[in-house]
C-alpha cells in the first residue's frame, strides 16, 4: 500500500478538513446571534454537565428523544466559560458535518466505479449549501453523519445478513432517534425494507405463502434485533392501547411533537411541500446532479445498473419516502414563506452518488436524462421556490430558497438588460432547469462530458458561498448574524465569576416585548446561571424557555411594611428593576443587555421590592402598585404613559402624596422620592387617578419602567 494508491483517501480527508476549517473559522465561530433551537440544545448540554444519567433522563428542555447532540457537546460546557463553549461547540458541529464525507464515500464506492468519482460525490455532498447549518448549534450535523453511517450499515446488512450487522443498523437507528425525533420514522422504514427484502428473496427461492414459518425463522436469524425490536414495539403498543394509556405515553416520550397524534386534519398541500423541497435541493446542487440522479434512480430501479445500484436505489427510495412523508405530515404540509430545507438534508448524499454514477455509466441514457430534466422543470413550474421570508435565519434554515429569493431580482434585471424583458422568479427557475437539462443531455456522453458536472459544482459552491454571505451580512437588505459585539462581552457572567460558582437568575423583568430574547441571550452565553429565584408564587408570570427548565428558588414576598431577608450568593438581576433589587457588590454589567451581576453577602439586604405590581409594570384602577424600600433610600421612578392619552397617578411615599400628570403624548418622566422612616421599610404606593382604557379592558394610568435606588442619609 503506497501513498499514491491511497491518494484518493488523502484527498478525501484533506478536502473534508479544508471545508470544515473554512466553514468553522470564517463563519461558524463568529456567529453571535442565536436561533431559538440553539438555546434548547445548549440548555440541555449544560443540564447534562452534572447528574448524569439522571439529568439525561429528566431533561425538561429536550424535545422528545432528541438528546444525543446536546450530550456530545456537554463536555465543552462543563470545562469552558459559556461564550467559549459556544464557539468550540460550533467548530465541533462543523467537524461532525464534514465527517459525513467518509460514509458518503463508502456508499458511493458501491455504485461508482472510480475511486475519484466517489471522492467527488463525498466532497460535493459536504460543500452543498446546507453546510451553512454549521453556523448554528443544530443537531442536523450529527444526524446527517449518523444517517450516512446507518445507510452504510443497512446496505451491508442487506447484502450479507448477519446478526452483528443487524446490531449495527439498530444502533444507528437508535442514535438517529436520539438525535432527532424526526428520524424515528426510519425505524418503521427499516422494518419495511427488511420485510420487502425477505419477501423478494423468498420469491427468488420459490417460496410460497405456506413457507411463511421458514421465512420468519430465516428473517429472525438474519435480523434478530430488528425482528425482536419490532415485535417488542408492537406488543408494547398493543398493550398500551388496550390499557388506554398509549396517548399519554406518547406525550411523555415525544413531548411537544406528540400533538401529531391529536391531528384531526390532513396536511395542507403536501405535494407542494415535497415539490418545494425537490426543486430547492435540485437548485442547491446545481441542477445537473439532480437531473443525473433522477435518471440514475430510474435506471437503477428498473434493474439496468446491476444488483448494487438496485439495492441502494430501492433502499434510499423507501427510507426517504417514509421519512419525508412523515416529515411533511408532522409539519402539517406546505409551510409557505416559513419553509425549511434542513429537514430533507438526507437526500443530499444519494443525489450526488447517483449523479456521479450516472455520469460515468453509459447505461443511463440521454432519453432518461431528458425525461428527468423535463420532470424537474414541471415540478419547478408548480411551486415558487424563492417564496420564503428573507432574513439571516432563513439563510441557514432554507439556504437555497433564500438565495433564489435574494438573487432572482438581480438575475432578472441582468436578463432584462440583454433581452429587454425581465422574467419573473418562477419563469427564471424553470428556464434555468430546462437549460441545465439541455446542457446535460447534449454534452454528457460527448468529449465535453465533464463540463455539466463541473459547471454544477461551480454553481453549487456559488450558492453555498451566497448562503454564507447571507449569514455574514454580506448581502444587501439581509441582517448579519455576526453583530459587532465580542463573545467576551456576551459571556459576561461566566467571565466575572472566578471558580464557576452557581449563579441565580433573579426573576425581575418587566414582561414587555423582547424580554424573552434578552433572557435567552444572557442564558445562552453564561452557563453558571443554574437556578431562578422568584418573588412569591404569584408575583410574575412564568419565565420563558429555556429559563423555565432551571430549578426555581422562592423568595418570601414583602409584607406591608417589612422587607424579606436578602438571599446570599451571585445574582443576575435586571438593572433598575421595579420588582426587586438586591444590595451587594456590583460584580459585572451586561454590555449588550439590561442586566447586572451582584455578589450578595450576609450583610447585604433587599434594596427594593414590589409587593404588588402587574408584570408589565402598568398601574391600573384594578391594580395599584405597592412597593417597599429600606429607610434611607432615594428612589427615582421612571414612569411613562401607556398610551398617548392624558393620564395621572397619585404617588404616596413616607407620608407624602403627589400627583404625577402626563399630558397627551407625553414621554417618560422621572419622579424622585426620598424615603426615610422610623421603621425599617418605607412603602411606596402608586394609585391610578386619571386613566385610559386598554384593549384588555384595564383602566390604566402609568407604566413603572424602572426604579433607580441609591442610599441617602436621613
Amino acid at each position: 500500500v503506497t501513498l499514491r494508491s491511497r491518494a484518493h483517501l488523502v484527498v478525501l480527508v484533506a478536502g473534508a478538513l479544508v471545508v470544515g476549517a473554512a466553514a468553522a473559522l470564517l463563519v461558524a465561530i463568529h456567529v453571535n446571534t442565536i436561533a431559538l433551537d440553539e438555546t434548547i440544545y445548549k440548555a440541555s448540554a449544560v443540564h447534562y454537565t452534572s447528574g448524569l444519567p439522571g439529568s439525561l433522563m429528566h431533561d425538561l428542555t429536550a424535545r422528545g428523544t432528541a438528546r444525543l447532540y446536546s450530550l456530545l457537546i456537554a463536555p465543552l460546557f462543563a470545562v469552558l466559560d459559556g461564550d467559549l463553549a459556544v464557539r468550540w461547540a460550533r467548530a465541533f458541529t462543523t467537524a461532525l458535518y464534514v465527517a459525513s464525507a467518509i460514509p458518503v464515500y463508502l456508499l458511493a464506492r458501491l455504485v461508482v466505479r472510480s475511486r475519484w468519482g466517489a471522492v467527488v460525490a463525498a466532497l460535493a455532498t459536504i460543500t452543498a449549501p446546507w453546510l451553512v447549518l454549521t453556523s448554528a448549534l443544530f443537531s442536523e450535523s450529527l444526524s446527517l453523519l449518523a444517517f450516512c453511517w446507518t445507510l452504510v450499515a443497512m446496505v451491508h446488512a442487506l447484502r450479507r445478513p448477519a446478526w452483528w450487522r443487524d446490531v449495527l443498523v439498530m444502533t444507528g437507528l437508535v442514535v438517529l432517534l436520539c438525535t432527532r425525533v424526526q428520524l424515528g420514522a426510519l425505524i418503521p422504514a427499516w422494518a419495511i425494507v427488511v420485510v420487502l427484502w425477505q419477501l423478494r428473496e423468498a420469491r427468488a427461492l420459490g417460496l410460497g405463502v405456506w413457507d411463511l414459518g421458514f421465512i420468519l425463522r430465516r428473517t429472525l436469524m438474519r435480523y434478530p434485533l430488528t425482528v425482536l425490536g419490532v415485535a417488542l414495539v408492537l406488543v408494547v403498543l398493543v398493550a398500551l392501547l388496550a390499557e388506554g394509556s398509549l396517548h399519554h405515553r406518547i406525550q411523555v416520550v415525544f413531548g411537544g411533537y406528540s400533538e401529531i397524534q391529536d391531528r384531526t386534519t390532513l396536511p395542507i398541500e403536501p405535494g407542494r411541500a415535497i415539490s418545494f423541497e425537490v426543486v430547492a435541493f435540485a437548485v442547491g446542487v446545481g441542477l445537473v446532479p439532480a437531473i443525473l440522479a433522477l435518471g440514475w434512480l430510474r435506471a437503477a430501479l428498473l434493474g439496468r445498473l446491476g444488483r448494487e445500484a438496485f439495492d441502494l436505489a430501492l433502499l434510499g427510495t423507501i427510507l426517504l419516502s417514509v421519512l419525508f412523508a412523515g416529515t411533511v405530515f408532522a409539519q402539517n404540509g406546505y409551510l409557505g414563506v416559513n419553509s425549511e430545507e434542513r429537514y430533507y438534508l438526507y437526500v443530499l448524499p444519494l443525489v450526488w452518488i447517483g449523479a456521479v454514477a450516472a455520469w460515468e455509466d453509459g447505461r443511463v441514457t440521454r432519453g432518461w436524462l431528458a425525461a428527468s430534466g423535463l420532470g424537474l422543470a414541471v415540478l419547478a413550474a408548480t411551486v415558487d421556490v424563492g417564496n420564503v421570508d428573507l432574513n439571516a435565519t432563513r439563510f441557514f434554515l432554507a439556504p437555497v430558497a433564500a438565495t433564489v429569493n435574494h438573487l432572482s431580482p438581480r438575475l432578472s434585471g441582468d436578463v432584462e438588460s440583454v433581452l429587454g424583458v425581465g422574467p419573473g422568479r418562477q419563469v427564471l427557475v424553470v428556464s434555468v432547469v430546462l437549460l441545465a437539462g439541455v446542457v446535460t443531455v447534449l454534452l454528457l456522453r460527448s468529449r465535453w462530458g465533464w463540463a455539466p458536472l463541473a459547471l454544477a459544482l461551480a454553481v453549487q459552491l456559488g450558492v453555498t458561498v451566497y448562503a454564507f454571505e447571507g449569514t455574514r451580512g454580506g448581502l444587501a437588505n439581509v441582517d448579519s448574524r455576526i453583530l459587532p459585539m465580542s463573545f467576551h462581552e456576551l459571556g459576561w457572567v461566566d467571565r466575572a465569576t472566578p471558580g464557576s460558582p452557581p449563579v441565580t437568575w433573579l426573576d425581575s423583568e418587566l414582561r414587555v416585548p423582547g424580554f424573552a430574547d434578552q433572557e435567552r441571550t444572557a442564558l445562552f452565553y453564561n452557563d453558571e446561571i443554574s437556578s431562578v429565584m422568584k418573588i412569591g408564587p404569584q408575583m410574575l408570570s412564568p419565565v420563558g424557555s429555556p429559563l423555565d427548565a432551571l430549578p426555581v428558588v422562592g423568595l418570601a414576598p414583602a409584607g406591608p411594611t417589612t422587607l424579606p431577608a436578602a438571599p446570599t450568593g451571585w445574582f443576575v438581576e435586571l438593572r433598575d428593576s421595579p420588582f426587586i433589587q438586591l444590595g451587594g457588590r456590583l460584580a459585572a454589567v451586561d454590555a449588550v443587555g439590561p442586566y447586572e451581576l451582584r455578589e450578595v453577602g450576609a450583610r447585604d439586604r433587599v434594596t427594593w421590592i414590589a409587593d404588588s405590581l402587574a408584570d408589565d409594570g402598568i398601574v391600573s384602577k384594578q391594580r395599584p402598585a405597592r412597593m417597599l424600600a429600606p429607610s434611607g433610600t432615594r428612589a427615582t421612578l421612571l414612569l411613562s404613559a401607556p398610551t398617548p392619552a392624558p393620564t395621572s397617578v397619585i404617588v404616596r411615599a413616607g407620608g407624602r402624596r403627589q400627583v404625577v400628570r402626563f399630558a397627551r403624548g407625553a414621554g417618560e418622566r422621572r419622579v424622585t422620592l426620598r424615603l426615610c422612616a422610623a421603621s425599617g421599610a418605607v412603602p411606596v404606593e402608586l394609585r391610578a387617578e386619571r386613566t385610559t382604557r386598554l384593549p384588555d379592558l384595564r383602566d390604566v394610568s402609568v407604566v413603572v419602567r424602572g426604579v433607580h435606588v441609591t442610599p441617602v442619609r436621613c
Binding site: 427461492l205 420459490g206 417460496l207 388496550a242
Partner: protein, 168 residues
C-alpha cells in the same frame, strides 16, 4: 418452471409424502427429502426441507437436521404441530380479547381449548373441517382455532359488545 410452480410442486410433494405416511411411517433418507422439498442455496436447503415437513405435519426419526448423508430416516405424521398452531393462534386471540373485556378472553380461550381438544381426540374430524389447501402442520391448527374463535366472536362476543355499547 416458474417460481410459483416450483413452490406448488414442493408442497404437492410434501402432501404426497403425508398421504404415504397415513397409516405407517415411511422409510426414506435425507438426500431424497432434500431433493424433493428444498430450493435455494446449499446452506438453507436442509432448513427449508425440515420446515416444509413441519408445515405439512411431518417429522423424521432421527431429526433431519444434523444427520449424515445417506442416513435412513423414518417419516411419520404428527398431530402435535397442529395443536401447537391452535394454541399459538388461541393465545393471541385470548390476549386480544382479554385486553378488551375479560369475558371475551375467556370465550376465546374456551374456543381454543375446543380446537386443541378436537385435534387431540378427533384428528379425523378436525382434518375434515380444515380445507384441503391448508397444510396439516401448525397452519391447520391455527386455521381451526381461528375459525372457532371467529365463530364464538360472532355468536357471543359481538352481541355482548353491542349490548354494552347500547346498540341492542
Amino acid at each position: 418452471m416458474s417460481r410459483a410452480q416450483r413452490a406448488r410442486a414442493r408442497h404437492a410433494a410434501a402432501r404426497d409424502l403425508r398421504s404415504r405416511a397415513a397409516h405407517a411411517p415411511v422409510g426414506t433418507d435425507r438426500d431424497e427429502l432434500v431433493s424433493l422439498l428444498s430450493a435455494g442455496d446449499d446452506d438453507e436447503r436442509h432448513e427449508l426441507t425440515a420446515s416444509t415437513l413441519r408445515t405439512h405435519g411431518l417429522v423424521t426419526e432421527p431429526a433431519l437436521l444434523g444427520v449424515d448423508p445417506g442416513t435412513p430416516l423414518l417419516l411419520r405424521r404428527t398431530g402435535a404441530l397442529a395443536v401447537q398452531g391452535a394454541v399459538i393462534a388461541g393465545i393471541a386471540a385470548t390476549a386480544f380479547g382479554t385486553a378488551r373485556l375479560w369475558i371475551y378472553g375467556l370465550l376465546f380461550a374456551l374456543a381454543t381449548l375446543l380446537a386443541a381438544g378436537l385435534l387431540l381426540a378427533r384428528a379425523d374430524l378436525a382434518d375434515r373441517l380444515v380445507p384441503d389447501a391448508v397444510p396439516r402442520g401448525r397452519w391447520a391448527g391455527a386455521v381451526l382455532a381461528a375459525t372457532l374463535v371467529a365463530a364464538v366472536g360472532i355468536l357471543v362476543a359481538v352481541p355482548v359488545y353491542s349490548a354494552r355499547r347500547g346498540w341492542l
